[in-house]
């Protein structure tokens, strides 16, 4: 993944998406980092204001509901289990609640880890970036269920990608509801925003456990 070949294929991939001209590729944590050009728009993500989150899990229920399959002829889904959501609130003791959601990492270690050869026409691996929202998307026809994306996400970032226990294909990747995220609209406490992916600051892309540690140190000090 550190090879120039990977770099090359990324550049090709972006060019073929018609976005390449505006991108700058720079050295970064994994050999390169991408930046969207200002004019082209930046990567967006659900950014959590941890000072406002109360751990109520309303975001899970609206996310799961929005993405749930509809019965034939119905625009409404029956209630679904909140664990089907792509956002998941982790609870810790002492009290700290951490919504875990795809960070839309600029360098996308999940896509980088995908071993499927890019499609010669589209330039896409099985896991690729949606040209509109920038969200990682899995091509279920191309995916081989190797779980490399989930492993990369867990080891390096939030750990939000979960392989389906049967198909082993990645699940739990936030698609920003196509651009108007429901969780942001419904969060009772205004703790979720659609913002530039980098706005999560020093907590961007960290695992829930690491974020909880920081929060506990911030909230609960005897001084």
């Amino acid at each position: 993944m550190e090879s120039g070949e990977g770099l090359q294929s990324r550049r090709d991939f972006l060019r073929k998406l018609g976005l390449g001209a505006g991108f700058l590729i720079a050295g970064g944590q994994f050999g390169f980092t991408w930046f969207f050009d200002e004019k082209e728009g930046k990567l967006k993500a659900i950014v959590v204001d941890f000072s406002k989150c109360t751990g109520c899990r309303t975001c899970e229920t609206v996310c799961a509901g929005f993405h749930a399959p509809r019965a034939a002829g119905s625009s409404v889904a029956a209630p679904v289990n909140p664990y089907q959501a792509r956002i998941r609130v982790h609870h810790f003791n002492p009290d700290a609640d951490v919504p875990q959601v795809c960070a839309h990492c600029a360098d996308a270690p999940c896509i980088e880890a995908c071993p499927v050869d890019p499609d010669p026409v589209t330039g896409r691996k099985a896991l690729y970036r949606d040209p509109v929202t920038g969200s990682p998307v899995n091509d279920t026809d191309a995916c081989i269920g190797c779980r490399s994306c989930a492993r990369a996400c867990k080891e390096l970032r939030t750990g939000t990608i979960r392989p389906n226990p049967v198909t082993r294909m990645p699940e739990g990747i936030c698609d920003l509801c196509g651009g108007e995220p429901r969780c942001v609209q419904v969060c009772p406490f205004g703790a979720l925003q659609l913002a530039d992916a980098g706005d999560a600051g020093h907590l961007a892309g960290l695992s829930p456990e690491k974020i909880a540690q920081v929060l506990m140190e911030t909230y609960y000090s005897p001084q």
Binding site: V76, P79, N81, Y83, P94, A96, Q223
Partner: protein
């Protein structure tokens, strides 16, 4: 049997810890229709299964029920509640022929446990028997295992919560558990989740401890089927947009929650102060919302799908700092604060944290310590009686020492743990007059002198013994029973009105037509069935009483100064109450017409 009603699984998870038997019992749809779920369905199961009066609360035969309702787990705001229902280890009638006679007990808990039980595929969980060794119950959908809990036994609830998160993950399992007090069958022990939220009242944790069940850990991947998803979603949107309005009421809950009631209740003269001898507390602002926000609270926390987030957590500064906990809220702040004349906020927060860690019902614990403080102050007991603890008013260190004695069930703690009624019998010398209980169950943080119309009836007639959540008249009592049966929080009625009233939502969930009237009738049926359980055990009108203090003494401070409850007036109020209820004036038994109207079969 007919097909299960939508909105339910029609299954009760039955676990016998003596035999290790695990059965998924089909629930009669008629029971669901008549008793809704939660507290009501729990009462029905207990009524049908514990037909012999006098079953000892700590016997293996007693049933410990964890009962979410048909709202629990659905994404409705504040649909987080679970009712823990069992036969009480706290109460007994004044007379009667059964040694182990006691009332039904129910205690309500928020958090995330009830919804998870429903996700796992059950409308309730019934624990019977007694394990030989400490165990916990592991439930992951259809997989149900009784597991060894020797590594968890002895842990305080705070450490246990951290352990369970480490062992089972931070995002999958939700657990209810007991602390060290319940392990020792301390009668006033509570059931907790998230190391702070408690089904505190009525000794539910003690019954769990008697079964040697340390914890119940649940994870579920399903959700109940809903009869009319289109209508349900429409109602859900209506409720959510109603909650989304920034109203004074919502601000009250978010800013302080029940902590706000500390100063309000003191101003109104309705607070438990100095073992209920006063209704106002001069130093209340030191433990109120503004002080807690400034000194302790860092974060607000919500139960499942709640828009109010009335749990406030933080860490106090100074000598009592170093522990993260929630509160004070109204009950913990009054019972361990004003009732003991404690105005040291950090000290109060530490007392709450210690009591929750031990797993004690803070209401009863504060009431009992208040009683002992008064007996000590009046020199009816000496320091030896208290194992050397100098239990003076306002003494935080002495309260912490007492709580630890109670949690460990040793020395004076053993006597204290039997409750104020038992202590007064032992101490005598007129101390019965200030033993503040009904049926053996201690009163909560609301004083009676100034509020007999509401709290006098609420406490005296409550089916679990003294209860501040019971309601002061038949209508509110039925409504309260109903809420506890639906699985919805007691604090959100005002958001569930008109187009999104409970009956409309329950209709969409179950596909059965519910009206406001039929729902109130269900609440009344539930309340009367509990009453019948108690009547069968031997409770009569003489048990629906109030502590002597309220009739014979008046406070000196605040709006309640000089006010005593008139005994004749109270008896008249009880008469009116029984008439409104359709109950016999002498015995308090629900009349045959009432039972027939509610479809309850006399025993």
């Amino acid at each position: 049997m007919a097909e299960t009603m939508p909105g339910y699984y029609g299954r009760l998870l039955d676990v016998n810890l003596s035999t290790g038997t695990i059965v998924k019992t089909t629930l009669d749809p008629q029971w669901l229709q008549d008793y809704i779920g939660g507290r009501g369905l729990g009462a029905k199961i207990l009524y049908e299964r514990l037909k012999n009066p006098g079953t000892e609360a700590f016997s293996p035969e007693n049933i410990l029920l964890f009962m979410p309702g048909p709202f629990s787990g659905l994404p409705l705001p504040s649909s987080s509640r679970t009712c823990v229902v069992t036969k009480s280890p706290r109460t007994s009638p004044k007379s009667g022929s059964y040694h182990g006679a006691s009332t039904i007990s129910y205690s309500n808990i928020g958090g995330f446990f009830g919804p998870e039980l429903r996700f796992a595929g059950y409308d309730g969980l019934a624990i019977t028997g007694r394990s030989d060794k400490p165990v916990y119950l592991y439930i992951k959908d259809e997989t149900v295992e009784i597991r060894d809990a020797s590594e968890y036994w002895g842990l305080g609830t705070d450490a246990l919560e951290t352990r369970l998160i480490a062992d089972l993950g931070s995002d999958g399992f939700r657990s209810c558990y007991i602390g060290p007090a319940a392990e020792k069958m301390v009668p006033l022990a509570s059931v907790l989740n998230t190391a702070a939220r408690a089904a505190g009242r009525g000794g539910t944790g003690a019954v769990m401890g008697s079964k040697r069940l340390k914890a119940i850990c649940v994870s579920g991947s399903g959700i109940p089927n809903v009869a009319d998803p289109v209508k349900f979603n429409e109602l859900l949107e209506t409720v959510r947009s109603s909650f989304a309005q920034d109203t004074p009421s919502r601000r009250w809950w978010r800013e302080g929650g029940t902590t706000n009631a500390l100063e309000e209740s003191s101003a109104g003269g309705t607070m438990a102060v100095k073992n209920y001898s006063e209704g106002s507390f001069g130093e209340v602002s030191r433990i109120g919302t503004a002080a807690a926000r400034k000194e302790i609270w860092k974060r607000d926390f919500a139960c499942y799908c709640c828009f109010l987030a009335c749990k406030k957590s933080g860490m106090a500064k100074g000598a009592y700092g170093g522990v993260v906990h929630d509160g004070p809220e109204y009950e913990t702040g009054s019972m361990l604060g004003s009732n003991l004349l404690i105005a040291d906020l950090a000290g109060l927060n530490r007392c709450i944290a210690v009591a929750d860690d031990l797993g004690l019902d803070i209401i009863s614990a504060g009431n009992i310590i208040g009683f002992l403080m008064e007996a000590y102050d009046k020199k009816l007991i000496d320091r030896d009686f208290l194992d050397g603890i100098d239990l003076t008013w306002g003494n935080v260190e002495a309260v912490l020492a007492m709580l630890r004695k109670m949690g460990a069930n040793e020395g004076v703690g053993i006597r204290a743990n039997q409750g104020v009624r038992s202590l007064a019998r032992e101490i005598g010398q007129g101390s019965e007059a200030f033993a503040i209980h009904v049926k053996g169950h201690e009163l909560a943080g609301w004083n009676v002198h100034k509020a007999v119309d509401w709290f006098g009836i609420s406490y005296s007639t409550a089916n679990r013994g003294a209860c501040h959540m019971n309601g002061g008249a038949p209508g509110p009592q039925n409504q309260s029973a109903l809420r506890d049966s639906l699985g919805i929080c007691s604090f959100v009625d005002e958001w569930y009105v008109n187009d999104s009233a409970f009956e409309k939502i329950l209709t969409a969930i179950t596909g059965r037509e519910w009206s406001g009237a039929s729902l109130e009738l269900a609440g009344e049926r539930i309340y009367n069935l509990e009453k019948m359980f108690n009547y069968r055990e031997g409770f009569r009108r003489e048990d629906d009483c109030l502590p002597e203090r309220f009739f014979s003494e008046a406070g000196k401070q605040g709006p309640a100064a000089g006010i005593k409850v008139d005994r004749a007036r109270f008896e008249q109020m009880l008469d009116d109450y029984y008439i409104a209820r359709g109950w016999d004036l002498k015995t308090s038994k629900p009349g045959p017409e009432k039972l027939a109207a509610l479809g309850i079969t006399d025993f």
